[in-house]
């Protein structure tokens, strides 16, 4: 019994490691673990059950991520895995890992801020330019190329950039 439990722990860890490497198709520098989209990997009756949560209600990447998870597990010999989507607790950008924030910045996307001003009626957010680091930036549009991003512009280096919205 003890051995079985030990194997199961190892197996679960291996499955987690496989799943954690799956990347967001729209921001391929971030894994679903970096994003906080991956909530749980469990084993039941020898099948892997993965729990993920969507970033935004309408995020079209979720179908793709589900498929990528199933394929990644299949490649490592985990058959008949199941991916479950849960809404609660609702995903927040606060779940994004420090590593994820660094990777985003290096990729040219300003990471979401922790102290959120989401509820302020008119924006007072201060976002540093991911290119030159200047705080002299302005918002162009709160809705960008994907649901999770806003469009900003740096007034110092004149470069437009994406900002990962607080959520």
């Amino acid at each position: 019994m003890v051995t079985a439990t030990f194997d199961e722990t190892k197996l679960r860890q291996r499955a987690w490691d496989v799943v954690a490497e799956v990347v967001d198709p729209e921001i391929p520098v971030l894994t679903i673990a970096d994003l906080g989209v991956l909530r749980d990997v469990a084993l039941s009756d020898g099948r892997v059950e993965v729990t993920i949560t969507p970033t935004y209600s309408g995020c079209p990447a979720m179908n793709m991520i589900t498929l990528e998870i199933e394929l990644a597990l299949e490649r490592e010999g985990f058959r008949n895995s199941r991916v479950r989507t849960v809404l609660s607790p609702a995903w927040t950008t606060d779940w994004m890992s420090e590593d994820g924030r660094r990777k985003l910045r290096e990729y040219g996307i300003a990471p979401p801020q922790r102290a959120r001003s989401r509820r302020a009626l008119f924006g007072v957010e201060q976002v540093a330019c991911p290119q030159c680091g200047s705080a002299n930036t302005e918002v162009l549009s709160e809705f960008g190329s994907t649901s999770c991003k806003a469009l900003w512009r740096c007034k110092a280096c004149r470069e437009p950039f994406d900002y990962f919205k607080c959520h």
């Binding site: 969507p54 935004y56 209600s57 309408g58 995020c59 079209p60 849960v86 809404l87 609660s88 607790p89 609702a90 995903w91 927040t92 989401r118 509820r119 009626l121 008119f122 924006g123 162009l140 549009s141 709160e142 809705f143 960008g144 190329s145 649901s147 469009l151 919205k165 959520h167």
Partner: protein, 258 residues
């Protein structure tokens, strides 16, 4: 060969969920009609983004309605295979886009309501509706801010934009009352804390809407007669046209996937 509509067992909870799903789908579809036509690129993306948020909310709500109903329907059947009289959305959200001012005023009236509504619904005793609410309120906060900024720009902008914004407010005002209406089936859900009483949201809705409208140098019409019907399936002529476009693929090629 067109495919027939499905029939729905409308228990109070199924109907309640469908009504909210229909609001989100129809308004989301209206916003998507701007895709490629908005006055500028940033706005084109913003409208499509918000349409996508609403579509996401609609999908969750339809899926839940189908599960509660338990008759083998799913989100696609509910969206694509119900006829116009089976749709239960607010008349407000089906109103045509007309000019940008009309689109924004419609968006503003609905977004301020939806934001208050979803925040209140996070306390629903129904775990699924509460979870959908917690997701949706994050998105609606952005929608309110976006629409509010436009009301200010349009109202306090040029003479032309002011006239158009005021015209939109006057034209759409009579559709706002329906957001706060409740029927007997919903009353029972409110009593069991599954739903919230929307009438309780009206003072705050009016406060937020008035503040922005006043700052935009526009005026709200006096409260008068309010148009009803959407919640019981009696729609304006516009919804049928919208659905004929939204549903044409599934009606023509039943079960088509790609």
């Amino acid at each position: 060969m067109a495919v027939a509509s499905i029939s729905i067992s409308e228990t109070p909870l199924v109907l309640y969920t469908l009504r909210r799903a229909d609001d989100a789908l129809i308004l989301g579809h209206r916003l998507s009609e701007w895709c490629g036509h908005a006055p500028m690129l940033e706005e084109d993306m913003a409208l499509a983004n918000m349409g996508l948020d609403l579509l996401g909310q609609a999908r969750e709500l339809y899926s839940y309605a189908a599960r509660v109903e338990g008759n083998g329907n799913d989100e696609d059947k509910l969206a694509y295979l119900r006829d116009v009289r089976q749709y239960r959305n607010l008349l407000l959200v089906e109103q045509p886009n007309r000019d940008f001012a009309h689109t924004m005023v419609r968006q503003f009236f609905y977004a301020v309501f939806a934001d208050l509504y979803w925040r209140a619904m996070m306390r629903s005793k129904d775990a699924t509706l509460a979870a959908i609410a917690a997701k949706s309120e994050k998105e609606s906060a952005y929608h309110v801010r976006h629409a509010s900024e436009w009301i200010l720009r349009l109202g306090d902008g040029t003479e032309e934009s002011h006239v158009r914004a005021q015209d939109a407010i006057d034209g759409l005002w009579a559709f706002t009352g329906e957001m706060f209406d409740v029927d007997d089936g919903e009353r029972a859900l409110i009593d069991s804390a599954v739903a919230i009483d929307p009438a309780g949201l009206r003072p705050q809705w009016l406060k937020t809407v008035s503040a922005i409208v006043n700052e935009a140098t526009l005026v709200l019409p006096k409260d008068g007669w309010m148009q009803q019907g959407g919640r019981s399936g009696r729609h304006s002529e516009h919804l049928g046209h919208l659905l004929s476009e939204l549903q044409s693929m599934q009606r023509t090629f039943p079960g088509a996937t790609w």
